[in-house]
């Protein structure tokens, strides 16, 4: 399977053939199930302890759904999610809640993800109350400790979210995720809504916290430069499938799948001298609807090589295959050719 390390004990999260379909129904009184939006369609990957796995792809490719399905915020349609050796898809109620303490989430929008009627200390304290951790004075000390850790002045504990800037609010969101001492954090586009200089502050903070608390991240974003900066390994998603998964520098230096190549070449590098000579691969057309994805290789409608190698990707779904140690590619002959 797709593991970072050979030692399976290092694996914290193990996802196997994860599928998340959203049913589409028709009719007012009698709802008939007419189709499925195949948001995530058969993902397999592991996240090692202390690792940052980046998940990139364009809007609607299923990145966020993957994050939510791992945390069981959406119950997966099929497949398995193991967290520290325990199968999460079998857990319910209080058993699942016990695990939720160890898996937290940081959201994209620092404006809508904080309750405007709660103070900072209430926001950070709420997860502790839910999980029955730290009582009384201890909780106040813990809130102060966390606020310091994320770079917020503890004197602001009694303030409301609207009194903070976007970057500071994102720090509150991070503090809330850290409150219950999680092992694993799903960061869903945590810096997309922030300005460049503030983005750098938050990225650095996430890196510092990872070292300090031994955290494992699933870092979801569409900005490849940020993902490459923060991630150890990167998985590239397209239309509910992983098309390539590899160590971050290897992915940049040696991309194999046609979609990865196009995606990398589409990101301009902030350097006019480099950009002058950089060739771009411009993809034609748009991403197909996940309601009716192409059969077989999902990328084939935009692949310029489709049909040229005589491969059978229109019939069979390409499997992730290890082409070099730790470098996995969806095994489609035409997408993998030059």
């Amino acid at each position: 399977m797709v593991t970072a390390e050979s030692n399976p004990n290092d694996t914290l999260v193990s996802v196997k053939d994860l599928k998340m379909y959203f049913p589409v129904t028709e009719g007012l009184l009698i709802q008939r199930h007419t189709a499925d939006v195949k948001a995530v369609d058969g993902l397999t990957f592991d996240v090692a302890k202390n690792e940052t796995l980046g998940l990139v792809g364009e809007s609607g490719c299923g990145k966020s759904t993957t994050g939510r399905a791992i945390l069981q915020l959406h119950r997966p349609t099929a497949g398995s999610v193991e967290f520290d050796g325990v199968e999460l898809t079998d857990l319910k109620g209080s058993e699942l809640r016990r695990f939720r303490r160890r898996m937290q989430m940081i959201f994209q929008d620092p404006f809508s993800s904080l309750n405007p009627r709660m103070t900072v200390s209430q926001i950070i304290g709420e997860p502790m109350a839910i999980h029955g951790l730290y009582k009384g004075q201890e909780r106040r000390e813990r809130i102060e400790f966390i606020m310091n850790a994320v770079g917020l002045n503890p004197l602001f504990a009694k303030r409301y979210p609207h009194e903070f800037s976007g970057g500071q609010r994102q720090r509150i969101g991070i503090a809330r995720a850290l409150a219950v001492e999680p092992d694993f954090i799903v960061c869903d586009e945590p810096v997309s809504a922030l300005d460049v200089s503030i983005q750098a502050q938050v990225v650095n903070l996430l890196e510092d916290l990872q070292t300090e608390f031994g955290l494992t991240y699933l870092f979801i974003a569409h900005d490849l430069s940020v993902v490459k900066h923060i991630s150890d390994r990167i998985a590239v998603m397209y239309l509910g499938h992983i098309v390539e998964l590899s160590e971050a520098n290897e992915l940049y230096n040696n991309p194999i799948h046609a979609y990865t190549k196009a995606l990398l070449s589409a990101v301009p590098i902030p350097d006019p001298v480099v950009e002058k000579t950089r060739e771009r691969i411009i993809l034609e057309g748009d991403v197909p609807s996940p309601l009716n994805p192409p059969a077989g290789c999902v990328f084939r409608t935009r692949c310029t090589r489709q049909g040229t190698t005589g491969c059978t990707c229109s019939d069979t779904t390409p499997e992730l295959t290890e082409v070099s140690p730790g470098h996995w590619v969806a095994n489609c002959e035409c997408c993998m050719s030059d």
């Binding site: 300005d195 460049v196 200089s197 569409h222 589409a266 902030p270 006019p272 771009r280 993809l283 748009d286």
Partner: protein, 332 residues
């Protein structure tokens, strides 16, 4: 190259109940014919308000252009009548907006919307305008343009809508195209499609482009010259090469160092600019960057007058603040 647009000491203020917001506070810059100029800076630094001021699209009240002049092809647009402005908008100066979902009229077909400005400004008749619209749609790469001209905006994807916007903007062969965050709402691969089309077309037609963006990658790829804005003022202006490789102002230096690059081999910690940009509602005395400048001990920039843009080498202008310009302000 001939001068196309001169903006002199432009001040656009918003008079709100809380006080006066000095969104643009004395900017001077120019665009030459056929060049691509980028206006970069963080949200709220006055980039968009600057662009809106050129077309006199500032909502008034509360906004007002309180000072300055905008000379376009020898004419001061701030003294032009409403009728003269209408003849310029969409004709000699056109604009592509950020949000492709809301900037097209949902109840008119794509064809009706492109035809409108062609008929108005170029005086073509209906069928000529239709032919021209189809040509334009083909130019921006809409497949089956003739068949799609009677479709409504909702039948197009985001990237295609933005291409329709570009077709509309270029329909009257403008001298200046203002693109306000044209690709921010789009996905990376679609962003590349749209930018390549816009870049190539403007080059072919000899249109000057003013591109407003916070994406430094886009700036590096497409801009000839760059103006860096901070708190309603320009703090550095030069060629793209200079701004990226030889930035002089502390803010530009910090901004360049805070963006991760896809081609970084080693993991380097990102440089950050501590603190927040100032609120423009408080009057800023002296250098606006002073509270975030990593080096301020002996400098009096905050108590003295606003630092003036000074030419330190041919074509390289920097706000003349001694501490911000010192090379050891590079944040660690």
């Amino acid at each position: 190259m001939a001068r196309l647009l001169d903006v002199n000491n432009l001040k656009t203020h918003f008079f709100t109940e809380e006080g006066v917001v000095r969104a643009v506070d004395g900017v001077t810059w120019h665009v030459d014919e056929g060049e691509t100029l980028a206006l970069v800076g963080e949200s709220g630094c006055g980039k968009s308000v600057t662009a809106m001021s050129i077309l006199r699209l500032i909502p008034s009240p509360p906004g007002r252009i309180v000072d300055g002049e905008i000379i376009f092809e020898g004419q001061n647009l701030l003294e032009a009548s409403d009728e003269e402005m209408r003849a310029i908008r969409g004709n000699r100066i056109s604009m592509v907006f950020q949000e492709p979902m809301t900037s097209l009229n949902p109840v008119l077909t794509i064809g009706q919307q492109i035809r409108e400005s062609i008929i108005l400004h170029l005086g073509l008749n209906d069928s000529e305008a239709t032919t021209r619209s189809i040509e334009l749609l083909e130019l921006v790469g809409i497949p089956d343009a003739a068949g799609r001209i009677n479709d409504y905006p909702h039948q197009f994807s985001g990237g295609m809508r933005q291409r329709v916007m570009i077709a509309m903007a270029l329909s009257c062969n403008p001298k200046l195209l203002i693109a306000d965050e044209p690709t921010t709402a789009l996905d990376v691969t679609i962003q590349a499609q749209v930018m390549e089309i816009m870049g190539n077309l403007s080059k072919d037609l000899g249109t000057a482009v003013l591109i407003i963006t916070h994406n430094l990658g886009v700036v590096a790829r497409y801009a000839d010259r760059v103006n860096v804005m901070y708190a309603g003022r320009i703090i550095e202006s030069s060629t793209a090469e200079n701004v990226f490789h030889n930035p002089q102002h502390g803010y530009t230096v910090g901004l360049m160092a805070s963006v991760p690059r896809l081609d970084d081999e080693e993991h380097v910690r990102l440089a950050t600019i501590e603190g927040q940009p100032p609120l423009l509602i408080d009057e800023i005395h002296g250098c606006a960057f002073q509270p975030r400048c990593p080096k301020d001990e002996s400098c009096f920039c905050s108590s003295e007058g606003t630092p003036e843009l000074t030419e330190i080498s041919p074509g390289h202008w920097v706000a003349d603040c001694p501490c911000c310009m010192s090379r050891d302000t590079v944040p660690a």
